[in-house]
């Protein structure tokens, strides 16, 4: 904790602002009453209703599949793009490429969604593919906007990492592909994992781009949530929010503990290496 009372106050205010709404959702998810201002009794009623909502469950299943596939492709493309930007130096069209990679980070989603939909419609007119809109078009759109986030994560890891190991392997005669798979990939693995998780979460949560590119038969979880909260409060969403927050918190805490252990092990190894030498 910082010493000055002003900083302490600022920090606590900021964190309270971030957490009060989330804590409130969790508390309300156990309230038997529909209203936010009346607490009737503790119950799992809304969780029960959530589990019986088939439309919502099938949308959630679609969202998970879309997020899994998109994140996996986005990780491959994003890692390649991160390699290009961090290690390839100058190549033809580098400025355009780095522009195309970083623009989706800030591009308003309505523009991305509309432009991708118009692309799919035009492609269907000219090539006959993709036929109609549905899971495939959602996946293509999600790969496109999530790969930028993977690229940033992988690129910053590569930039902060010393290139000397890779150079040494090259000097010893390893081919570039071998250097990548044997040296670079294991070193950037944590960045790739967090890139995948980030892409998965962003895909799972996306509403605007999905609304543009989805078809009548493919409704994702955020679309269901949006149509139910557009009309006001919906206690089932509180229960859903609690489940999401619990999963995310467990995941982040596990990742944090794992990272701290890795860091400790690394420090120990370094100390032992120094003592040994």
């Amino acid at each position: 904790m910082p010493k000055s009372w002003f900083l302490r106050f600022g920090l606590i205010t900021g964190l309270l602002f971030l957490y009060i709404p989330i804590i409130l959702l969790i508390v309300l998810s156990f309230n038997d009453n529909r209203s936010v201002s009346v607490w009737s009794e503790f119950s799992f009623r809304w969780y029960g209703e959530l589990m019986r909502d088939d439309q919502l469950l099938s949308a959630a299943w679609l969202s998970v599949r879309v997020a899994f596939i998109s994140a996996s492709f986005a990780v491959v493309l994003g890692t390649l793009a991160g390699m290009m930007l961090a290690r390839f130096g100058a190549f033809k069209g580098r400025a355009l490429f780095s522009g195309m990679v970083s623009a989706p980070l800030v591009m308003p989603e309505v523009i991305m969604g509309l432009s991708l939909l118009l692309l799919f419609v035009s492609m269907e007119q000219v090539l006959g593919w993709p036929e109609g809109r549905g899971m495939l078009t959602i996946i293509l759109a999600h790969i496109t906007f999530t790969m930028s986030f993977v690229t940033v994560v992988v690129q910053s890891r590569l930039v902060s990492m010393d290139a000397s190991l890779e150079e040494a392997a090259m000097d010893l005669g390893a081919r570039p592909a071998k250097v990548f798979f044997v040296i670079t990939l294991p070193l950037i693995a944590p960045a790739i994992v967090s890139g995948w998780l980030l892409a998965f979460t962003l895909s799972l949560d996306d509403l605007v781009i999905t609304s543009f590119v989805s078809g009548p038969g493919s409704t994702t979880l955020p679309q269901i949530v949006f149509s139910s909260v557009r009309l006001g409060l919906s206690p089932k969403v509180n229960a859903l929010a609690t489940i999401v927050v619990t999963i995310v918190a467990i995941g982040i805490i596990c990742a944090g503990i794992y990272n701290a252990r890795q860091e400790k092990a690394r420090q120990r190894d370094e100390q032992m290496a120094q003592q040994g030498g």
Partner: protein, 314 residues
Amino acid sequence: MAETVQSEMRHTGFLGLLQRVGLSGRALVVSVPYAWLLLFFLVPFLIVLKIALAESQMAIPPFTSLIENVEDLKYQITVTFYNFHYMVTDDLYIVAYLNSLKIAFISTICCLLLGYPVAYAIAKADPKWRAPLLMLVILPFWTSFLIRVYAWIGILSNNGVLNNVLMWLGIINEPLQILYTPVATYIGITYSYLPFMILPLYSTLEKLDNTLLEAAADLGCPPWKAFLTITLPLSIPGMIAGALLVFIPATGEFVIPELLGGPDTLMIGRTLWTEFFNNRDWPLASAVAVALLLFLVVPIMIFQNVQGKQGGHP
């Protein structure tokens, strides 16, 4: 050992094959993500521009095509600026643009005012506290954006938590109308984008050279003055990066004004959505998108400059 040799041989074989067809590994690595982004990011903008110049019609797809085959080998290109003209003459669009810029700007300032002390406090905290505190800032970002916006409906509504607390404290006698007003939109945007402001600010403040502050203190400079003349100016790059990360997406925001703002909280992302989904006027929606993009070109260019510098270039 035998395995490694074999895998190496396979590599040679595979790479050799690629080289025979005239592709080096490097070219292959470059071409895949490049081609993907060209097809799914750049080409779509050209199509948006094309459709913004078309006319709306009752058909599938609901717009006229620019190039028409009038007779054999004779094509006619019809371009209409009707959509752009319509946008300039109808007040709705100009008001929505200006309002979006205003809302995005005020929310960015709120994020800065709220986020700076948090980022500064984390940067000044004991190193062992920094990682957990940063984790606390990042955690909400990983939970659903939609759900976090929705949470504010329960807080701000007329019989919501905030009004109940204020009435219980005796500060107000009847509920304040906050939900479905622009104020709710400011709160929603500030809340949703706050981590994007804190993280770049933190990474700038954390790298700040402490010896400068020590030198200032040795020379008798009071802490507040050292902050104003050293820390604040040196953290400007972080402020710019954070401000752009908030301002640009906030300008085109749809979900927050839709859920928290009232019917009169006009924002351009919402207008685009209505034109597209409710009025099915794809050409007009495209024209709105082109105009929004023109507004954002300068901030996006600055963002890419900042991003490029942070990303580093060997």
